[in-house]
Amino acid sequence: MEAILNKVDRRKALVTLLMAVVGIVFLLPFAWMISASFKVEEEVLTFPIQWIPATWNAAANYQEVWTGNLPFFLYYWNSIKVSVLTTITSVTISALAAYGFAKIQFKGREALFLIVLATYMIPPQTLLVTQFLLYRWIGLYDTHTGLILLNSFSVFGTFMLRQFYMGISNEMLESAKIDGAGHFRIFWHIALPLVRPAIATYAILRFIWTWNDYQNPLIFLRSEHLYTIQLGVAAFADAHGSIYSLMMAASVSAIVPLLIVFVIGQKHVIEGIQLGGVKG
């Protein structure tokens, strides 16, 4: 018996090792990016690839990105502002709507939910032109408020949180009702605390998606002082397209903070996508 166990474990260990190698190869583009961002320009494309820079130039590269011609601190601040505020408004709006659709019996509920759900089928790009016109007309073009509102009404968030509210037993809410609590109190004191893990998942995902969004800022912002980090990296690549060490330092600046958010919240993110995606 013990011999068998040992054998199985060894095989598993071997596969794990092989898969680790595959995983490292899979992540090589990131490794290359980080390594290149630490190098002096002349050594970026030397072959064979030097994964550990021969001449360290990290400080100068990152200084050039962050304090050079383009105001990266400002772009960063704009991204943080837009991502945080979008996350807060979107989570609030979705949590309210999801509770309404799951736990309140109002007239036309199914029909209204179906309408909201159906809007998912519309690819966002088909809306760009008219959203752009609308924004220019009502004065939301070239504002952060406009950008935040664009991602605040999420069918995904509403749908996902609704699924979780559905899992709360009605008896629990009924007894609170008998005690005289209204829906707002039930929502705040009972329902919301129960779906906290789902809220965390959605909040992390929303933050990541907003941070990485390039298309909306590209179309709905014009003033450079409003640019987000994604527009900043693209602008930087245009300006320094031939200086690869600097381009990589800019890319690292855009990717790494998010990778950290993800690695910290990975359990929430992965479980959330699995739960929402498959078990439904």
Binding site: F106, M121, I122, P123, E174, V233, M247, L258, V278, G280
Partner: protein
């Protein structure tokens, strides 16, 4: 955006209606409307109104700089122009070629999922590794691959040349290889999502099936092809459809990586729409492109609903 849409799609398919036992009354009605009001009003203004306006605009030759008065009803002219325009047809063709990346990506994802599910330690770490490209900034990823794919000096071709490939492809600079380059990046970024969903799907397969197969002496390949593949077919179908739909939404990657070039070899309808609407300022024409895209996606969605019952092997 794309990721979000993908997940929603996956979820939407799984909707189940359940009745709440909390009973109505006018107070219940008003409270209900208050709870959903922000979401519903926002969606109406930012999605429902724009899609209707977009349909109307697609029958005009308007450009938004010249004001509403200059708008003229032109009937189906935008659409006939569109389908006799070689550039637009090329972009549609490119997008259909991009679809080839999806089955390849799914096969890789499923293979990895099977291995990670059963044969490795530290599963969670593998999930994190493969998920990283999916949550990374597309702009930064595109910038990195621009350098990696550099035809003469890029690391990828340097490695190929050192392995004896005398004339490696020019990747994004080469008309014949630019679209495959985009596909490679698309596969690389989508494996994480597909893998996670596949892992959840694999967990629902009863282990007894494999035990029985093993007792009968079935090989690993036999188990994979005769048990795993048929039993995850609902997941595969779902991921295939969401993949098809999201391939019509690829924007950030192409804009930053190639901007549709060289020689329109990576132009897709979405990128073309962007160029027509915001660079050429042809509002009506761009709305017509939007409508065509919309119809394609609706069409795929209908196939999904029909196909789900017919082709999926439970």
């Amino acid at each position: 955006m794309q990721a979000e849409a993908k997940s929603t799609q996956v979820q939407a398919v799984k909707t189940r209606k359940k009745k709440s036992s909390l009973n109505g009354g006018w107070k219940e009605n008003v409270t209900g409307y208050l709870f959903i009001a922000p979401m519903f009003i926002g969606t109406s203004i930012l999605v429902i109104f724009p899609i209707i306006a977009s349909i109307v605009l697609s029958f005009t030759n308007w450009n938004f700089v010249s004001g509403f008065k200059a708008a003229e009803f032109v009937g189906l002219k935008n659409f006939t122009d569109l389908f006799s325009n070689a550039v637009f047809l090329k972009s549609l063709g490119n997008n259909f070629l991009l679809l080839l990346a999806i089955p390849v990506g799914l096969f890789i994802s499923l293979t990895l999922a099977v291995i990670i599910n059963k044969y490795v330690y530290a599963k969670d770490w593998f999930k994190v590794i493969y998920f990283m490209p999916f949550i990374s900034s597309t702009v930064a990823v595109a910038v990195v691959f621009q350098v990696l794919f550099h035809p003469t000096k890029g690391p990828i071709n340097q490695v190929l040349m050192s392995m004896g490939v005398a004339d490696p492809p020019g990747w994004i600079a080469d008309v014949a290889f630019s679209l495959p380059s985009v596909m490679i990046i698309m596969i690389w970024t989508s494996i994480g999502f597909n893998l996670i969903i596949y892992l959840a799907g694999l967990q629902s397969i009863a282990p007894e099936l494999y035990e029985a197969a093993e007792m009968d002496g079935a090989s690993a390949w036999y188990q994979f092809s005769r048990i795993t593949i048929p039993l995850v077919s609902p997941t595969t179908f779902l991921l295939l459809v969401t993949g098809l739909i999201s391939s019509f939404k690829v924007f950030d990657l192409i804009i930053v990586l190639t901007n549709g070039g060289p020689a329109n070899s990576t132009l897709t309808p979405v990128v073309y729409l962007y160029q027509q609407a915001f660079l050429e300022l042809k509002t009506g024409y761009a709305s017509a492109i939007a409508l065509v895209l919309f119809i394609i996606i609706i069409f795929i969605t209908i196939i999904q609903f029909v196909g789900q019952k017919k082709w999926v092997n439970y």
